[in-house]
Subunit: 482 residues, 2 copies
C-alpha cells in the first residue's frame, strides 16, 4: 500500500472518515467524518476561529443559508460562468472534466465526445411552485448579501470582517481526488470589507512590526519558491500593505499555530490568465503533500475588489454604497478562503509517521491542540480499586481536556492504539498510584515516561501543551527496569 | 408592537438574525444569523455538546452529508411518507398546508382547491446524469447509515451514541412561523443505539440515584402537566428505565444548565394517533412561549425501535445485525432531537425583559454561558492613557471570555447598549484605574457596581460565572455619589 491507501484504510478503520452511505455503495465526492475525524475537524475550526477572528475586534462570524435564491448567483456570475466542460467516452461512457483528459478515454482508451458545458451548481427548486435556488458553491456570497445588515449592526466601521464556516457544494463531474474534489465540503472563509483607498495604507507601527517578515512565495514567472520580506514584495510587486499584512498572518497560522514544517508551505501567485477575472491579486495557499506528489492548493488569498457588491447592487437595485470617513463608496473585499477538508487531509499527510518498517505500527504526530484526544487514561489493571481511581482521574480531567478512557488489552497495546490516533499523552494509573497518589505520563513522541502527582496532572498537562518540558514536572521512569 | 415584533426588530437591528437575501426581498423560511446570533448559537451548541456527549464515554459526534442518495430515504420511509397536503386559493393563489386551513382562503376568503400531495424533501440531482439525491430532512439518517462503521471503529460497545449537529431541510409550503417553520434549519440530534433487552434494565446504582427525580409531564389523556417521579412513571406508564433516565437528563439540561424557569418547561406525551408509526414512545420537549401564546415543541425524545436500521437492511441488503454480549440482534434507537433555531427563539422569548414602560430600554437576561458577549470593556474617556489601559485589559481578558470593547458614547449609553445585547458584566476603566490598578464591574441584572483589582478580574469573573456573589470580590461603589 502507498501512503494514500494506508491513510484511507486507517481513516475508515479508526473512525476518522469513510465514504457516506457505504452500505448503498457510496457516491463519489461524499464523505462522513467519524468520531475521531469530527474531533479533529472541530479542533481545526476552533483554532481557525480563535486565530482569524482575533486579528481585529471588528471581525465576526455569521451564518447564512446553503440554499440561496437564483438572483444571488446571477449577480455573482456563477449562473453564467461557474461551468466545467465535460467529455464522455463513446465506448465505456466514463465522464471526465475536459481539463483532465487529452483525446482518449483515461479508462479504456476509447474516443471522447466533444466537450459539453455543465454548470457545477446544484439546483434546488423551492416551494410548491419550484422557484429556482442553488446550493451555494462558496460561503462568500452569504457574507456579501449580509454586508449592509451587518455593517449597520456593528456600527458602521471599516475594515469589517465577516467569516462563515459552512458547507459548500459543487456538482463535480469526476470527483476522484478524495478530499481534494468533494461534491459537499466545508469552507472557512473570511471576507474583509475595506476602504480601497487604504490598500497600501496601514498603521505605521503595525507595518514596521511586520515589514521584515519573510513570506515564502512562488512568483508566477519563477520556477521555485523564495523567501521575500513584505517590504520587498510591496516595492517589487506593487502588492498593497493591507493585503501583505494578511498574507503574513495566514503564513503564521500555518507555521506557528498548526506547526507545519516551513519547507512544506508556500504562497503561489496566480497570474492574470489563470485567476478569476474579478481577482485582482490572488495567491493560493499550498502545502507540499507526499500523497499528491507535490504542492497542492488548500486555500487562497483573494483581492476580489468590489466585484461582488457591485454585482449585487446591479441585480438587486439596492445600493451597496456606504458612508464612511466622510466619503461614499462601495467597499472592496479581501477574501481569506480555506478548504477545511483539504486542510484535514493535509494534516493527516503531514503528521502521519509510518514506522512499519521497524515494528508494524504507525503514529499520527498531531500537535496537542489538534489531536482528537489530548490524553488517554489507562488503568494498569481492572481491579483493586485501580479502575475506580482511573475513572475518577478521567472524569476530572475531561472537564479540561479531550480525554479517552481505555481499559482493554495489554498496556503496550493500549499505548500503540493511542499512538495510532495521535494522542499526545497516555496517563497510566497503577498499584502505586493508590499509595502515593501519582501516575505515569507517557510522551507519544519520545515514548519517555514520567511520574507525576495526580493532583498536579491538570497543571502539568496544561503547561506541557504550552511548550514546557515534562522533565520539569515529573521524575523520569527508567522503563528498562519495567 | 407586540413582543414578537419587538424581538424581530431588535434581532435585525443588532445582528442577532435577519431574513436571508433581504436585498432581493428575501424568501420565506430562510434566516441568516448575524454576529451576535451566531455567538449565541455557538454557545448553545457547545453547551449541548458538553452536556449530552458527556452522559456516556461511548457517545460521540460525527458529521454526515446534507445531500444523501435516494435509497437512504426510500429505506427511512421519507420518499413515501414525508408529505404534506397543499390547498391553493382559486382567487388569490395563496398556498396553505391543509392542516392550517378550513374551507376558505385565510387571506382573501376565496374558495380553495382540493388537497394535493407534496413531498417536503428538496430533491437534488447529482452529477451530469442527474441521479436523484435529497437534502436530508433530519440529521438522524446520517447517523443510521454510519452505525456499522462507527460501531466497529469504537470497538463494538453498546450503548453507542452518535450525535450530529447539522443543517436539515424541509420544503415547507407556507413557512410563516418565523423560527418555528424554517426551510433550512439546524438540528442537534443524538441517536443512542442500545440492546432492546435493556430497555428496563439500567445500572441499579444509577436508577436509585434518579428514581425519585420528578419529571414535568403532560400525559396524553390529561389536560395539565404534573410532576411525577421516574419510579412512578415507570410503574404506571410502563416506560422503561433506559428511556426515563434520558428524559430526566433532558429536563435537567433545560432547568439546570440553561436555567429555564421550571414553570416554562414540560414533556408532552404524544399519543399513538399523533406520533409517527415508528415511534413507540414519544414525548415532545415543550417550552411555554409568550410569543406563541403557550407551550410549543422545541425538541423530542423518540424511541424509534429498530425501524430505521431494519429499513436500511431491507433496502441495502447489508445486514445491520451486530454481535454483542453473545447475542446477534439489530440494536434499537432512542433519539434525543433538538431544533436549534427553535431553542434560540425560545431563549430570546424567555430572557427578553421589556422595561420600556419605565425607561424605554430593554434587557436580555441571558445566563453568562449563553450571552453573546460575556463582558464589555469600557474606557471612561478616550485619552490620558485610559484607552490604552482598557485595550490592554480587553486583549488580556478576551483570551478567556467573549469580550467586546466599546468606547463610543456616554458611559450610560454604553451600559444600556450592553444590557440590550445581554452582556452580564461591563468593566469600566477610569482615571483612578491608572493610579490604583482597579476597575469597576457593573452587574447587568442588579446594576450594582463593584471596585476590583485589574489583576484579579479574570479570577473574579470566572468565579462569579460559576455562581459566586460579586460582593465577595470587590468593594461596592455607591453610585448615588457619582
Amino acid at each position: 500500500m502507498d501512503k494514500t491507501q494506508e491513510i484511507l484504510a486507517i481513516a475508515s478503520k479508526r473512525g476518522l472518515f469513510f465514504p457516506t452511505a457505504e452500505l448503498y455503495g457510496g457516491k463519489a465526492g461524499f464523505y462522513t467524518y467519524g468520531h475521531l475525524g469530527k474531533l479533529l475537524k472541530n479542533n481545526f475550526e476552533q483554532l481557525w476561529r480563535d486565530y482569524f477572528l482575533n486579528l481585529d475586534d471588528n471581525f465576526y462570524e455569521i451564518q447564512s443559508n446553503n440554499i440561496l435564491p437564483e438572483k444571488v448567483f446571477i449577480a455573482s456570475g456563477h449562473v453564467k460562468n461557474f461551468n466545467e466542460i465535460m467529455r464522455e467516452c463513446k465506448k465505456c461512457h466514463s465522464r471526465f472534466k475536459a481539463d483532465d483528459v487529452k483525446s482518449k478515454c483515461m479508462k479504456c482508451g476509447g474516443e471522447l465526445t466533444e466537450g459539453r458545458t455543465f454548470n457545477m451548481m446544484f439546483k434546488v427548486p423551492i416551494g410548491f411552485a419550484g422557484e429556482t435556488g442553488y446550493l451555494s458553491p462558496e460561503t462568500a456570497q452569504g457574507a456579501y448579501i449580509s454586508f449592509k445588515n451587518e455593517f449597520q449592526a456593528t456600527r458602521n466601521k471599516l475594515p469589517l470582517g465577516l467569516a462563515i464556516i459552512d458547507k459548500a457544494y459543487r456538482n463535480e463531474i469526476s470527483p476522484r481526488q478524495k478530499f481534494f474534489r468533494l461534491r459537499e465540503f466545508t469552507q472557512a472563509e473570511l471576507q474583509i470589507f475595506f476602504d480601497p483607498a487604504n490598500l497600501d495604507e496601514i498603521d505605521d507601527e503595525l507595518w514596521n512590526s511586520i515589514k521584515s517578515y519573510k513570506l515564502i512565495v512562488k512568483r508566477n514567472e519563477k520556477k521555485k519558491e523564495e523567501e521575500i520580506s513584505l517590504d520587498e514584495i510591496n516595492k517589487k510587486m506593487k502588492i498593497g500593505k493591507f493585503y501583505l499584512h494578511y498574507a503574513a498572518k495566514v503564513q503564521q497560522f500555518y507555521l506557528d499555530v498548526l506547526k507545519i514544517p516551513k519547507e512544506k508551505f508556500r504562497l503561489r501567485e496566480i497570474g492574470e490568465k489563470e485567476r478569476a477575472f474579478y481577482n485582482k491579486i490572488h495567491f493560493d495557499i499550498e502545502i507540499n503533500l507526499e500523497t499528491f506528489g507535490g504542492f497542492n492548493e488548500i486555500g487562497g488569498i483573494h483581492y476580489r475588489t468590489d466585484h461582488d457588491l457591485k454585482g449585487h447592487e446591479n441585480i438587486s437595485k439596492e445600493s451597496q454604497e456606504i458612508f464612511h470617513n466622510n466619503k461614499r463608496f462601495i467597499p472592496h473585499v479581501l477574501e481569506l478562503s480555506f478548504g477545511i477538508d483539504r486542510n484535514i487531509w493535509a494534516l493527516l499527510d503531514l503528521f502521519y509517521d509510518n514506522e512499519k518498517k521497524k515494528n508494524e505500527t504507525y503514529v499520527f504526530r498531531f500537535p496537542s491542540q489538534l489531536a482528537p484526544f489530548q490524553i488517554a487514561i489507562l488503568p494498569l489493571v481492572n481491579k483493586d480499586g485501580i479502575d475506580n481511581l482511573a475513572a475518577k482521574v478521567h472524569n476530572e480531567l475531561k472537564k479540561n481536556f479531550h480525554s479517552t478512557y481505555d481499559d482493554s488489552g495489554s498496556i503496550g497495546r493500549r499505548y500503540a492504539r493511542n499512538d495510532e490516533i495521535g494522542t499526545p499523552f497516555c496517563i497510566t494509573i497503577d498499584g502505586e498510584s493508590r499509595k502515593d497518589n501519582s501516575a505515569t505520563i507517557r510522551d507519544r513522541d519520545t515514548t519517555e515516561q514520567f511520574r507525576v502527582k495526580i493532583s498536579e496532572l491538570k497543571d502539568t498537562i496544561s503547561k506541557v501543551f504550552k511548550g514546557e518540558s515534562l522533565i520539569k514536572f515529573g521524575k523520569k521512569v527508567d522503563t528498562r527496569k519495567m
